[in-house]
Symmetry: C2
Subunit: 335 residues, 2 copies
């Protein structure tokens, strides 16, 4: 299957423009004082600041579809999913680097738009597109790595720091991205009824509220992750790493009116989206204190014996839906 | 063209193992205290230390071939080319993150060997494989981003800091990687005569001498880059960014006995490898002082009017070979 670009991109193909002119066009589209040398030198942080780093790769046909996503949205999504990982440590995103593999027939304006999407999204975080790499390839592959700063002496918000008695808190929608995906699969980008655009946008270009991770760490949160592979999967990882159990409050995570309406339209159970959807990149954590600003309580941490049944329950009952995202799904396996 | 793995990898395919078990196998192969959370928290650097970041992507069939390279060599090369960019700023490499896209039929031991190659090479630099991402994809794509530390208040070794009157210095072989590639193209991995193994290794898994960038910065070097796209191309970039000319001493860069012998065997001009080959990841820079330890003088910087002919000459004559690596080569264009 060869990469097919939407006809709205009318620029010359990379094979006509050449690598160097393409890189110059990217630098024009997303100006940066730091980009353009062998490596980017980031600004000197405050004293006692640690660096946090993460990486995520998006592959055409698996993580995005060119008949659904605009180039800017792909850049946007690549930033958000990386920055969610930075924020899930309680850190502040400061820079990304962008490596792209693209076929020679890729229109130049598709690539500059993708870079512009990266640039627009990093600027929301006062961060920088600091460097990159461009190579040929048979398919479009977008690899972003993100750098964050973790200031001060408070611990990072790791997966292993949830403790019995703490509250489970979340900062954004859960299940919206999966509902958006289901709508796109049924109707395509143009066919989804307008009242569901928030769900479609949550899938194509999620917009988490920047700074929540730093706020949560300052407010005394202990552990944190983001909802990338599915709520039960991600909280299951956190629970196992912390050697605790987590009980979610059904009412606190129940599908809202929009998810319920989408479920009715599609004839699907919206709970599946909430529990297994992922890709919302909503921050989910635990705290002994009040929910940090922007977070709501969705459950509680309790003691749990390792090896005994599922570590995550809903109103004390094991969830019916639990299989989240897996890049290499094994038939019949539970995550 | 589908990815074909050598028969020496006999492990189960990723599609049987699943994503999570594959990631656990990678973490077993390359243990790290920092890997395994949403993002990796790097050690607190000395005060007054800036972070340096770069990224490079390797695509199967373009940057490596599975009938030539072992998995460990691919991991090894991905680290070296990233760390050369970190060192070319005068910084010390401290960590990499590794994003991999691979088909479902990829043997697990190929992936763990590739990660082991990354781990072995970063450990030579006392650095860490700190995190990663694994996704499905039709082809093998290896994306590495590297983080370095730039301590103290000396300027980074940027491309724009060469000044007339300075010496041009280099730290390693030039042209070896291109000669190795030419030998592989003619004879295949098993068929290259044994006396040329150093050239083949320089292409498949180059081994620059770690720490040269930090040494050069401490010793007063001004600008630096690495020989990745070809000597004339890379020095041309440095010269243009610094608004200077560079004259190389023909005797100092002339093909050595090994390159000359390989040229004779293949019926090719070894000067082509020296001037346009790239991928040696040899550090090349400029200094007003003595050549830093491990570097030799290969030329001199002089005044040059922008826009007038080529900024890089050899014994005051424009080189006959100048076209270096381009991911999207445009017919007839000069870089």
């Amino acid at each position: 299957m060869s990469t097919v670009y939407p006809t709205c991109y009318t620029g010359p193909p990379l094979s006509e423009v050449g690598e160097r002119a393409t890189i110059r066009a990217i630098l024009d589209a997303v100006p940066s004082q730091r980009n353009g040398d062998d490596a980017a030198v980031l600004p000197l942080p405050n004293p006692n600041t640690r660096t946090v780093v993460t990486t995520d790769m998006l592959v055409e046909g698996r993580h995005f579809r060119l008949d659904w996503s605009r180039a800017t949205e792909i850049g946007h999504k690549a930033v958000v999913q990386n920055f969610a990982d930075i924020e899930a440590m309680g850190a502040r995103p400061v820079a990304v680097v962008l490596a792209l593999s693209a076929p020679g027939h890729t229109p130049l304006d598709f690539i500059t738009d993708l870079a512009r999407g990266v640039g627009e999204r990093v600027s929301v975080y006062s961060a920088d597109l600091a460097g990159g790499d461009l190579t040929g390839g048979e398919h479009l592959v977008v690899s972003v790595s993100a750098i964050g700063h973790l200031g001060g002496s408070l611990a990072a918000l790791t997966l292993d720091a949830a403790r019995p008695g703490q509250a489970v808190v979340a900062a954004g929608h859960i299940g919206y991205s999966a509902a958006g995906l289901a709508l796109l699969q049924r109707y395509g980008r143009e066919g989804v009824p307008g009242e569901f655009s928030e769900l479609v946008n949550a899938h194509l270009a999620p917009v988490p509220d920047p700074g929540r991770g730093v706020i949560a760490r300052a407010a005394g949160a202990s552990s944190m992750t983001d909802n990338s592979d599915g709520l039960i999967t991600d909280l299951g990882t956190l629970a196992r790493r912390s050697e605790v159990g987590i009980d979610l409050a059904g009412l606190a995570i129940a599908p809202d009116e929009l998810l319920t309406a989408a479920g009715k339209l599609l004839g699907e159970d919206p709970w599946t989206w909430v529990l297994t959807g992922g890709e919302d990149h909503t921050l989910i954590g635990t705290t002994s204190k009040d929910a940090p600003s922007g977070f709501r309580v969705i459950g509680a941490v309790h003691r749990h014996c390792a090896g005994t049944d599922t570590p995550v329950t809903i109103d004390s009952v094991a969830p019916a839906h639990s299989v989240g995202w897996d890049s290499f799904p094994v038939p019949g396996a539970t995550p």
